[in-house]
């Protein structure tokens, strides 16, 4: 008789473990049932000792078991548990995950900054749906975490750039702890440190004249309450009001000003860096007001798992962020788009016989878009540079392991077929190795088909026939270079798939197989 679904989103964060239990009815109406937060400073362990101490681990397990009881009470059918930077960056993360699994039964998924961002943007979109899409208008989203700060620029309906800066509020506290007692002007020290960290980002953002500024995470919720108390509805504050608060916090002794503003003293260490970060970033934009949003990673998980058709949204966001990287490194969009389409067409035909999945298609798309980003850094050593750039990029919603695969696919697509050993040396397991080899073979072939980067071949059809993969193209231009390159890559393709690729390429009418 019950027509509601119950879902739990768990976030193993740097400061605390949080859980949100929601019910979703037939009309996709979400009701929050429970919100729990237990303070366990995993970040303190990781940022101090590079590992999670056993006692902290056990505490974490106890808490997860407590949360499990609440989930059982509501008969929750589905959950997602993620862990962010503190656990991700700890040396003993595998042991911790294993212990959690053994002691609590929870499968905790380690997510990176980009995946975190993906969830958060989903939540933001859900939130702003009724009032218009912030993507169209353009926005800077500043997500202040305990470990890192994630910055994203949206404009022209796309995520243009994303950054991950290592100035999370807890990390700052741990780094600057020793210095704090040495200076009477701690806020200045903090501001200087933050300035140094965000120097590069500043250059990118300044001049874009973006008018929406959204801050989330960390003590933003507290700042939001403070604004609501002052009569600002919807958690918005204009720049002048914000600057007044900021000024007070910089000018007066912390305990005094905290009392004055009614800020809980246990949050003091986090509140000040939050203010400084917001102040620095709003100055880079043309925004006149700050939207202090209370969306959380957990809201994003709810949106992702219960509300939104994942494929469309993820695809859009992740492709957006890949194109953002291409723009940054002055890539040839026309050529890349073409290669992407070609590779995609090959993939579709091969899917039935290759054992590749839909997720692999996404990885292929991303590798296709990104496979030349290294040229900007080094023409001589472009494949290695490409690998490095991708490895250090954030792609919305893509895990670290997948990033690694994308980097390898891109790199190997340009080189000779790598040996299994070479791929294994990169640290991939058997399954991933095969996927990397297959996808890089496809990309390599597609890339060959636009060797001159002139978009000369127009794809007509791709068909598997007998032991051949027949690709029909037309062209009104000279395609010798493409055909030559195709020939050179075909053996490698054959080695991986067992099909001989054949390119039919003639004038618009009479296509003959070569």
């Amino acid at each position: 008789m019950t027509k509601i679904k119950l879902y739990a989103a768990l976030d193993v964060g740097s400061n605390s473990i949080k859980m949100k239990v929601v019910s979703v009815d037939e009309n996709n109406q979400v009701s929050i049932i429970e919100e729990l937060r237990k303070n366990i400073a995993l970040g303190k362990d990781t940022f101090n000792y590079n590992r999670i101490r056993t006692e902290t681990m056990l505490k974490l397990c106890d808490t997860l078991n407590d949360f499990r009881k609440i989930m059982d009470m509501y008969q929750v059918e589905k959950y997602r548990a993620v862990a962010t930077s503190a656990l991700r960056e700890s040396d003993n993360r595998d042991i911790v995950l294993d212990l959690i699994k053994q002691k609590t039964g929870f499968e905790v998924q380690l997510i990176n900054g980009a995946e975190e961002k993906h969830f958060t943007y989903l939540a933001l979109e859900e939130k702003f749906k009724p009032t218009g899409d912030f993507r169209e208008e353009g926005a800077v989203v500043l997500d202040i975490g305990a470990g890192s700060v994630e910055v994203s620029l949206f404009y022209n309906n796309q995520i243009q750039r994303t950054y991950s800066i290592q100035t999370g509020v807890l990390r700052l506290k741990e780094i600057l702890n020793d210095l704090e007692r040495l200076t009477i002007d701690y806020p200045k020290l903090l501001a200087d440190f933050i300035d140094a960290q965000i120097f590069d980002v500043r250059n990118d953002i300044a001049g874009l004249e973006i008018e929406n500024f959204i801050a989330i995470g960390g003590e933003v919720v507290q700042l939001r309450q403070l604004c609501t108390l002052k009569g600002n509805e919807d958690g918005q504050i204009n720049k002048d009001e914000f600057n007044a608060i900021y000024g007070d916090f910089l000018r007066y002794p912390l305990p005094k000003v905290m009392r004055q503003y009614g800020v809980r003293s246990d949050n003091a260490d986090h509140f000040l860096p939050t203010l400084i970060l917001i102040q620095r970033f709003i100055d880079m934009t043309a925004a006149e007001r700050i939207i202090l949003s209370n969306v959380s990673l957990r809201d994003g998980m709810v949106a992702h798992d219960c509300l939104i058709d994942e494929k469309t949204i993820l695809l859009r966001d992740v492709l957006d962020s890949a194109w953002g990287i291409v723009n940054k490194y002055n890539g040839n969009r026309k050529h890349l788009n073409h290669v992407c389409d070609l590779a995609d067409a090959l993939f579709k035909e091969l899917k039935q016989v290759s054992g590749l999945k839909e997720r692999d298609r996404l990885l292929l798309n991303l590798s296709s878009i990104l496979h030349e980003v290294g040229t900007y850094i080094s023409v001589m050593d472009m494949w290695k540079a490409t690998y490095d750039v991708i490895m250090y990029s954030d792609l919305i919603g893509i895990s670290d392991e997948e990033i690694h695969m994308i980097a390898a696919i891109a790199k190997y697509s340009g080189e000779h077929s790598p040996s299994y050993q070479a791929v294994a040396d990169k640290g991939f397991d058997e399954q991933s190795r095969i996927r990397v080899k297959k996808l890089s073979a496809i990309l390599s072939l597609a890339n060959a088909m636009d060797r001159s980067k002139g978009k000369k071949l127009k794809l007509k059809s791709v068909n598997l026939k007998k032991s051949e993969l027949r690709i029909k193209c037309t062209s009104d231009k000279e395609t010798l270079l493409e055909e030559w390159a195709f020939q050179r890559r075909s053996e490698r393709f054959y080695d991986v798939f067992g099909y001989i690729p054949k390119l039919q390429c003639k004038g618009d009418e009479d296509v003959v197989f070569k």
């Binding site: 019950t2 605390s16 019910s23 009815d25 049932i33 919100e35 937060r37 407590d66 009470m73 509501y74």
Partner: protein, 699 residues
């Protein structure tokens, strides 16, 4: 502006409590009440005093022993408070017993009940009593003698004893001391054949033992014997002190000791000085701790009088009040549906407590209910609530119960049923270290067709179906989403699953209750300063907290009208010119123990009303887990305003504080309103009207 340092503006809390106990004593003196009701009040006065000596006097004595010399807001150090208490209590006890002998005893005789003195027994009586002594009393007596080889025995708290001096040629004093405990397993009053014109004649057990005391010391000569009784400090761990640091200080100074220190000795007036001196020396007490009693020791036996005589005559007792089922819940099949339709307010004991029990029982039976969570503080012995919770757990529902073991003097009872609950699979939480959980809340989580819905009961009194017939309390049943979410968060916090999160509606001690009260008072002050109407009404059991009192003084100065209806302790002084002229304090002591805590703030016309488990004492605000909850429905607010209005108009049971700090009854003029009676009538009327409506509908 602060009045905190003005000692004249604060009344010592102990002395204020004694004033309250005197107000209860005034009920003993109320000739308009049936005699047995007055006896019950006398028993209450006595048992109140026992607890006062076990807890409050004990605490002050501890402070003196620990060398703490801190003065209270009224400027008295512990030593001074103890002497003042002794002075007052000596006078009060004298008055109580004088009244007992001169009025109560006489009145009982008029009703043909006779408590006979030893001296008035005839030979017949002596024979039958001797027989009774030999058969029933003698076997359970254990005389204990004290000499060089046998140390002074441990006399247990609140036990009645007989001290005996026995001749001994070998002792250098020529005598030795022995003591006999009056067995508590035997009835205190023993009925004997009727005398003269009386219907019933009784003699006290200790008198019978005294008559035959020589039988216990065969071959010796009993010089004298007198009954005595001691009161000890209650178990230290279960006592609450008002300040953390104070507690630590005392703890440090106290050695581990099994038995509490003696705080009072009661002994029959006219007892031999040798016996008194000996007891003082052995019990380590001083003259001010010795109370010579002119009558029977320990008047709590008067509780039993009505039961003992099984009287038929209603004239000797009040007509019993029958709590009514509120019309909204009368013959309601589905209580959950009824709550969905609207929030319900229950005013006990005018409204029956049945719906609350029914709510929990239905929740236990209902297959859609996923979980029941409840705080239990003092529960009745065979509680239907406990049974329902156990059944729910057996049916596989998640049942979480927070049991507060620190409920004063009730701990053993609590442990027993808590163990029982655990066996059935309930998750039992035994309180939170350092914080007594005083809040009263029940949460029922139900999975309904299209949603999870939470039903909450919040109250000002305990989940005790017995006391709910005697205490006035307010309770609310609601399925308000916000309160439901807060209730969940509250239990998650109590069970340690989650940190306290920001609540939508509930205000909690020790998190933000104090600051909320302060903010509400400041808001009225602000209104008054703007020249707007400002009004605070608080109906509570105790007002002690200096910070709140200071705020109320400031409110009065600013022009806020402050009406306080305080049953018990009140440390504020009303009607002081320039300080508290706008504060009016009244206290209502009646047949039901006033226990509701209602807080009303005018708030510029947008009236806010809150109910709470908390009184305005430091311990409630800072050292206990308490809940303050808003009443938001228009109808419920209207009803609470009516209730407050009735209490404010009471001119029968209300006493009004005068600027000296004393309490005066009101001169009767106009319609006489006894608030509790009025509310009883009102609830009956409402019920009758409702039933009549139903009947007319059927016709």
């Amino acid at each position: 502006m602060s009045f905190l340092n003005n000692q004249d503006l604060f009344i010592n809390r102990e002395l204020s409590w004694l004033q309250f106990n005197q107000r209860v004593f005034e009920e003993v003196q109320d000739m308009s009440l049936p005699i047995f009701e007055r006896l019950k009040y006398q028993a209450i006065v006595s048992s109140n005093l026992d607890e006062f000596f076990m807890v409050r006097v004990a605490s002050l004595k501890d402070q003196v022993n620990a060398g703490i010399d801190k003065v209270d807001p009224s400027g008295m150090n512990p030593q001074k408070q103890l002497s003042k208490i002794a002075e007052k209590v000596h006078a009060m006890v004298h008055e109580h017993y004088l009244y007992y002998q001169k009025a109560l005893d006489e009145e009982l005789k008029r009703h043909k009940y006779h408590m006979i003195a030893k001296e008035d027994l005839d030979a017949d009586d002596m024979r039958s009593l001797e027989h009774f002594f030999d058969e029933s009393i003698y076997p359970v007596l254990t005389p204990m003698a004290v000499d060089s080889s046998r140390p002074f025995p441990l006399i247990s708290n609140k036990s009645l004893n007989i001290g005996v001096l026995i001749e001994d040629a070998n002792d250098h004093d020529g005598m030795y001391f022995a003591t006999v405990q009056v067995p508590s397993i035997l009835p205190r009053m023993i009925r004997i054949k009727t005398h003269k014109e009386f219907k019933y004649t009784y003699i006290l057990l200790e008198d019978v033992i005294e008559l035959f005391i020589h039988r216990l010391f065969y071959g010796k000569t009993v010089i004298l014997s007198h009954p005595y009784r001691i009161t000890r400090s209650g178990d230290f761990n279960l006592r609450e002190e008002d300040a953390d640091d104070l507690l630590r200080e005392i703890e440090k100074s106290l050695k581990l000791r099994k038995w509490g220190e003696v705080t009072r000795l009661e002994i029959k007036a006219g007892s031999d000085q040798r016996l008194i001196d000996l007891l003082m020396k052995e019990l380590h007490i001083t003259e001010q701790d010795v109370y010579e009693i002119n009558g029977p020791l320990d008047l709590t036996f008067l509780f039993k009088v009505p039961q003992l005589v099984k009287m038929k005559s209603e004239k000797l007792l009040d007509k019993p009040h029958h709590p009514q089922i509120p019309s909204d819940l009368y013959q309601v099949e589905d209580i959950f549906k009824a709550i969905q339709e609207k929030d319900m307010l229950l005013h006990h004991p005018f409204d029956s407590f049945e719906p609350v029990i029914d709510f929990i029982q239905k929740a236990s039976d209902d297959p859609d209910v996923l979980a029941i969570k409840q705080t239990l503080y003092r529960v009745s012995g065979d509680s239907p609530i406990i049974r329902a919770l156990a059944e729910a757990a057996e049916r596989g529902k998640q049942v979480t119960v927070l049991v507060e073991l620190k409920a004063r003097f009730d701990e053993e009872n609590n442990i027993n049923w808590a163990k029982r609950l655990e066996k059935t699979g309930c998750h039992v939480i035994y309180g939170i270290v350092g914080l007594k959980t005083h809040s009263k809340i029940t949460l029922v989580v139900r999975k309904e067709k299209d949603r999870i819905r939470r039903y909450v009961h919040l109250g000002t009194g305990n989940y005790n179906d017995e006391t709910a017939k005697l205490y006035t309390d307010l309770g609310m049943l609601t399925c308000n989403e916000y309160i439901g979410a807060d209730a969940s968060a509250f239990f998650n916090m109590l069970s340690g699953y989650s940190e306290p999160i920001d609540m939508y509606k509930l205000i909690l001690a020790p998190i933000n209750l104090r600051e909320s009260f302060m903010a509400f008072i400041e808001r009225e002050i602000h209104q008054a300063k703007k020249g707007q109407e400002a009004h605070i009404i608080m109906k509570i059991n105790a007002l002690v907290d200096p910070e709140i009192i200071d705020a109320l003084y400031r409110a009065s100065v600013a022009g806020v009208k402050v009406d306080l209806i305080i049953r018990g302790i009140n440390c504020l002084r009303s009607g002081i010119k320039g300080v508290s002229d706008n504060i009016h304090v009244r206290s209502i002591v009646g047949k039901f123990l006033e226990h509701t805590r209602i807080f009303y703030f005018y708030n510029g016309g947008k009236e806010e009303i809150y109910l709470s488990s908390a009184d305005l004492m430091q311990r409630n605000l800072d050292r206990r887990i308490e809940i303050l909850f808003p009443v938001e429905s228009v109808n419920m607010k209207k009803r609470i305003n009516e209730i407050l209005d009735i209490y404010m108009r009471d001119n029968v049971k209300a006493r009004v504080q005068n600027p000296d700090g004393g309490y005066d009854r009101l001169e009767p003029h106009g319609e006489r309103i006894n608030s509790q009676e009025y509310l009883c009538d009102l609830s009956k009327l409402a019920f009758r009207t409702h039933v009549e409506d139903l009947v007319s509908l059927l016709q």
